[in-house]
């Protein structure tokens, strides 16, 4: 039996889940492994990376778990170096790191703004800085950044840091897509819409807008055109498609996985 990603090495940043259940990064890492790839699961929290690793290993896949804080250039460099010394190549770079810290431009402090930028956007630049030379050398690779429908749609000023960094990530992705297409590198972004993932229960300000978690789930389901949020596997399946040779002519796209939410936006 052959699989779509046999022989590929997938480096996944943000591969742990911040709570029980399936986060986008964890599902993507497991989906890559199920499709035949060797996975490097990187997370700020090594326990979360190890949880993803153990799921992959139990299913008979191969995974290395690493700790890295993507706001620190040296830690990104180390994770990339460790990947190269272990596997010798990076076929797929999947950047799932993102924080949804809330705050409008008046309330948000300068240091909070800087931190959101470091975690959501500068990380994408730094990771590419270290991975692109490797992909150029190996004459190919796939970069998939996890953006958000919030990069296109604005619902309130309370997510200004998130909205702006995700919009920046879109154009970072497209700039790399055009700039390195002739080196055999494809770069695309996936834009999840309203998802039912562990992250939404972790953003205190988000949960606090509702009476309880159930009320939040009901409200988010209702906001989705389909009447239901998506889940981490919807994002993971899109990622496997984009990483595979089936998508070999897809480069520089923003792929919403959102039940139709973003098609109401220019």
């Amino acid at each position: 039996m052959t699989f779509k990603l046999d022989g590929k090495v997938a480096l996944v940043f943000g591969a742990g889940s911040c709570g029980p259940g399936w986060g986008n990064g964890k599902a993507a890492a497991v989906a890559y492994a199920r499709a035949g790839a060797t996975v490097i699961a990187v997370d700020l929290d090594i326990d979360r990376a190890n949880e993803t690793r153990s799921i992959i290993e139990k299913e008979g896949g191969s995974c290395l778990a690493l700790k890295a804080d993507v706001t620190q250039a040296s830690e990104i460099e180390e994770a990339v170096a460790k990947t190269m010394s272990t596997h010798g190549r990076i076929s797929i770079l999947h950047n799932n790191v993102g924080i949804g810290d809330m705050g409008n431009p008046i309330d948000l402090s300068e240091s909070e703004w800087d931190h959101i930028f470091a975690a959501n956007l500068k990380s994408g630049f730094l990771i590419c800085k270290h991975v692109l030379p490797i992909m150029i050398e190996q004459k190919g690779g796939v970069i998939t950044n996890i953006s958000s429908v919030a990069s296109l749609r604005v619902r309130s000023a309370e997510l200004i840091g998130y909205n702006v960094t995700k919009a920046g990530l879109n154009h970072l992705t497209r700039t790399i897509a055009v700039g390195y297409a002739d080196k055999g590198i494809r770069a695309n972004a996936i834009l999840p819409g309203l998802m039912n993932t562990p992250m939404i229960y972790q953003v205190r300000e988000l949960v606090e807008q509702f009476d309880d978690e159930e009320a939040m789930v009901r409200a988010r389901d209702a906001q989705s055109p389909t009447g239901k949020m998506g889940d981490a596997w919807d994002v993971a399946h899109a990622a496997v498609f984009l990483a595979s040779d089936e998508a070999k002519y897809i480069n520089g796209v923003l792929l919403p996985v959102d039940g139709g939410l973003s098609c109401m936006t220019v």
């Binding site: 497209r174 897509a177 055009v178 297409a181 002739d182 494809r186 819409g193 989705s224 055109p225 389909t226 009447g227 998506g230 889940d231 919807d234 399946h237 899109a238 496997v240 498609f241 089936e246 998508a247 070999k248 002519y249 897809i250 480069n251 520089g252 796209v253 792929l255 919403p256 996985v257 959102d258 039940g259 139709g260 939410l261 973003s262 098609c263 109401m264």
Partner: protein, 258 residues
């Protein structure tokens, strides 16, 4: 187990080129495919070559009564419709708008836009009664990138984009479990394109594409397979561009920027 095993798919314009590639791949992945086309000889041989899983029906997509007939036949023969690929489309000779022949204009709109809408209109009830489905409209990068000489085609394909998004919302909000998406191919190297264009023109086209080459019909087929399968069950209203990066920085023909 195929990724669209047991599903029934209609592919318009499925006799040749991109439509043929989509029909072949969906059949390989387990679907029963109904190829429709105005080109009867090519349609019959496509169905024959694909084998038992394929049938051909002669079909002008601009003809509403033909749609009613074909959908009734497919539903009665196969029990329902799960996938509709509105792929049939025509181009038109480049003309100055001042000189446009309105019969020509209407013919392009009636195939590219009305044909797509008619397929959606008549498939929706069949899909609703069979637990949902996936509609894939083949538009073009011409929906996003204007071409001065080809405004009839561009206008029809841009209309398909908005038709798709409106139908996607209609279906999502109606809880019908029907998803509607569009694919926007860039320059695709079909036999038809190779026969019509000179090698020099094709080289020029390739220079305008970041990936440096034209796409293959398979590239569109795999995108259609993803959208047809349950892997994309939360994806609707998407305009999936498959163009090697062309729309990000389209260059006027013969005028490379770098």
């Amino acid at each position: 187990m195929g990724r669209v095993a047991g599903k029934v798919a209609i592919i318009t314009g499925g006799a040749t080129g991109i439509g043929r590639a989509i029909a072949e791949l969906l059949a390989t992945e387990g679907a029963q495919v109904v190829i429709t086309d105005v080109n009867i000889d090519a349609g019959k041989s496509a169905a024959r070559e694909i084998g038992n899983q394929a049938v051909f029906k002669a079909h002008d997509v601009a003809d509403e009564s033909a749609w009613i007939k074909i959908i009734a036949e497919v539903v009665s023969q196969s029990g329902g419709i799960d996938i509709l690929v509105n792929n049939a489309g025509i181009g038109s000779p480049n003309v100055r708008p001042e000189d446009a022949d309105m019969a020509q204009w209407r013919r392009v709109q009636s195939v590219n836009l009305e044909g797509t809408f008619l397929g959606c209109k008549h498939c929706l009830p069949a899909m609703e009664s069979s637990n949902g489905g996936s509609i894939i409209n083949i538009s073009s990068v011409a929906a996003f990138v204007p071409t001065a000489g080809d405004l009839v085609y561009g206008a029809s394909k841009a209309a398909v984009l908005q038709l798709t998004r409106s139908l996607a919302l209609h279906c999502a909000q109606g809880n019908s479990n029907i998803r509607v998406n569009s694919i926007h191919p860039g320059a695709i190297r079909t036999k038809g394109v190779e026969n019509r264009r000179s090698a020099e023109i094709l080289r020029q086209v390739e220079r305008s594409i970041p990936i440096g080459r034209m796409g293959e019909p398979d590239d569109i087929a795999y995108a259609a397979l993803y959208l047809a399968s349950d892997e994309s069950k939360y994806v609707t209203g998407l305009a999936l561009v498959v163009d090697g990066g062309y729309v990000l920085a389209p260059a006027p023909p013969g005028a490379p920027e770098n």
